[in-house]
Amino acid sequence: MPDKATSVLQIDCVSLEVEGVRLLDQVSLSMERGEVMALVGPNGAGKSTLIRAISGEQNLSHGQIMFHGRPMQHWPLQELATHTAFMPQQSVLEFPFTAREVVALGRIPHSSGHLVDARVVNEVLVYLDVAHLADRIYPRLSGGERQRVQLARVLAQIWAPVEHSRLLVLDEPTSSFDLAHQQLVVKLLREVARQGISVLVVMHDLNLAMSSSDRIAMLCCGQLQAVGRPESVLTETNIRQSFGVSAEFIQDSRTGRRHLAFTESEKY
């Protein structure tokens, strides 16, 4: 399988059923090195399920998922953790860690030593604009600040190059971010990808998905509706079929960039 071995992530015809309900239906996707792929779709489309399937938390009913040509479940947990990082939608952490300590938890799989860990933690703290919060108690931060700290934690986990190219999976990383920090994430995804890290990111904001990703995968009812370059996936037809809303492209006369505007919902 020479062609498959080159893909960082290879999802082969994956189906997943829980208690008789089919949450994923024959989904196939592959991701290459240094590629940003946005996963979009309406609520309940199976986006988070797909991510749980990739992370190995949920057993597949059919198909298989491979990381660098090797099935996910055959990777030793520890080795996998140095190559892949997952950021869940929300993390409940009741214990009074400081923000810096939370970020340092991302270094657990590495045995890189105290000095390297401290340097990486400082770098990601600055990178995500949370350095000023480093010594504050995490549970007392605001929602957006906590999310930034969690993002810093998963970045710290895959900050330095390792044997194989790395994979970052983010489930709605920007849901509590203000506008400036959303733009920070767009910039971050680009820079991370430039370092050879493949990024799979669930996004609800289609404009943000369009401006930050190389390819978009659109899920609906557990099936892959479309996958490809943003302009070929985010068409008015596809959006109407998946989301049930009418969308229209508006071109910005100054920058020449296209934006999506949504007019009405057929459902409500």
Binding site: A81, A85, S91, E94, F97, T98, L105, I108, D135
Partner: protein, 342 residues
């Protein structure tokens, strides 16, 4: 904010433990000077020190340490800073085992005409063995019921089963209290209050082995416990084999509480309060939390036992009563502090 970093706190506590240990040895109905510990001039004094005071001080330190560490790991496992080892039914199961031993032992002794003594099996009483079996049994039942091969151990189910087991244990205890004679009833309730007056060297060694087991086996788990605080899937993503680790921790904590309950009865609040104080001072990092909790637990239980021996000297109060009296107001204060801070 943080008062000390974890390592510094451990050193401070280790240094503070020395004077407390000496105080716990020299203070009592018969007074000694510090010099008496190291000289052997007075044979009676030497005997009291060697056979009563020193084992008692050491046992209270060891039981305090084991209880506090068990509490710290349980709170990590449940990802709830207010969780307590008694939540998973160890104390309840242990008290059933102890009551049963008192009851059965009492009736057996009656039948056999007194030649079978209830309290002599190589320094460990029948009651202790009953308590240990009861406690460990309760944990195994709770763990079996709340673990499925597909979903792993559900913390919520485990708490609920723990509550159910505790309720069942309370009913069994009531039943046995009803059947017991006055003398047995008194022993049962005294045992449930927690007591260190049966301290001897065998108990000290047993507890020391338990503490050693803790230190050796938990040392490598500290980082995994930190990861677990983020959540089970997060810990998994950080390379932790969550199922294996949870099983190990449940067994260790059950063993810890089981052993300390068997040796000293039910001593409430040490497992809850001590890790809480340590977290307030130096944060929740398990790499220092476990050691610091052990040290602080040792200090606090030695002090509590000292108070228990002094308040109505030459008689004694059960030490569990003292820890509860000191622990409850402190716990409420902590709760209010955390609420205000949020």
């Amino acid at each position: 904010m943080r008062l000390f970093d974890g390592n510094k706190l451990c050193w401070l506590l280790a240094i503070a433990m020395m004077p407390v240990l000496i105080l716990a040895i020299v203070v009592g109905p018969v007074s000694f000077s510090i010099g008496d510990i190291f000289t052997n001039e007075n044979a009676q004094a030497a005997l009291i020190l060697r056979e009563i005071r020193i084992p008692r001080a050491l046992l209270s330190a060891l039981v305090g340490a084991v209880l506090a560490i068990s509490g710290a790991v349980m709170q990590g496992l449940f990802r709830n800073p207010l969780a307590d080892p008694s939540l998973i039914g160890v104390s309840a199961g242990a008290s059933v085992g102890a009551s049963l031993a008192i009851l059965a032992g009492g009736y057996l002794a009656e039948m056999l005409g007194g030649w079978l003594s209830v309290s002599s099996l190589s320094g460990l009483s029948l009651i202790s063995i009953g308590a240990f079996i009861g406690g460990a049994g309760a944990v195994i039942v709770v763990y079996r019921l709340s673990t499925s091969p597909y979903q792993g151990t559900s913390v919520a189910t485990m708490l609920l089963v723990g509550i159910a087991i505790s309720a069942l244990a309370a009913a069994l205890n009531n039943l046995m209290s009803y059947m017991a004679s006055n003398e047995m009833l008194r022993r049962m309730s005294l045992w449930q209050m927690g007591n260190l007056d049966l301290a001897n060297w065998n108990r000290v060694w047993l507890c020391l082995v338990m503490l050693g087991l803790f230190l050796v086996l938990l040392r490598g788990q500290a980082s995994s416990l930190n990861a677990l605080l983020l959540g089970e899937s997060e810990a998994r993503h950080l390379g932790v084999n969550v199922q294996t680790m949870k099983r190990r921790i449940i067994l260790l904590a059950a063993l810890g509480v089981g052993v300390s309950t068997a040796l000293a009865g039910i001593i409430a609040f040490v497992g809850l309060i001590v890790p809480h104080i340590v977290r307030l001072i130096s944060g929740p990092d398990h790499r220092s939390l476990l050691v610091a909790s052990g040290l602080l637990g040792a200090i606090l239980l030695m002090l509590a036992d000292l108070i228990a021996r002094l308040v109505i000297a030459p008689a004694e109060l059960p030490v569990g009563v003292i820890t509860a009296f000191l622990g409850v107001p402190f716990f409420i204060y902590l709760l209010r502090q955390t609420k205000n801070a949020r």
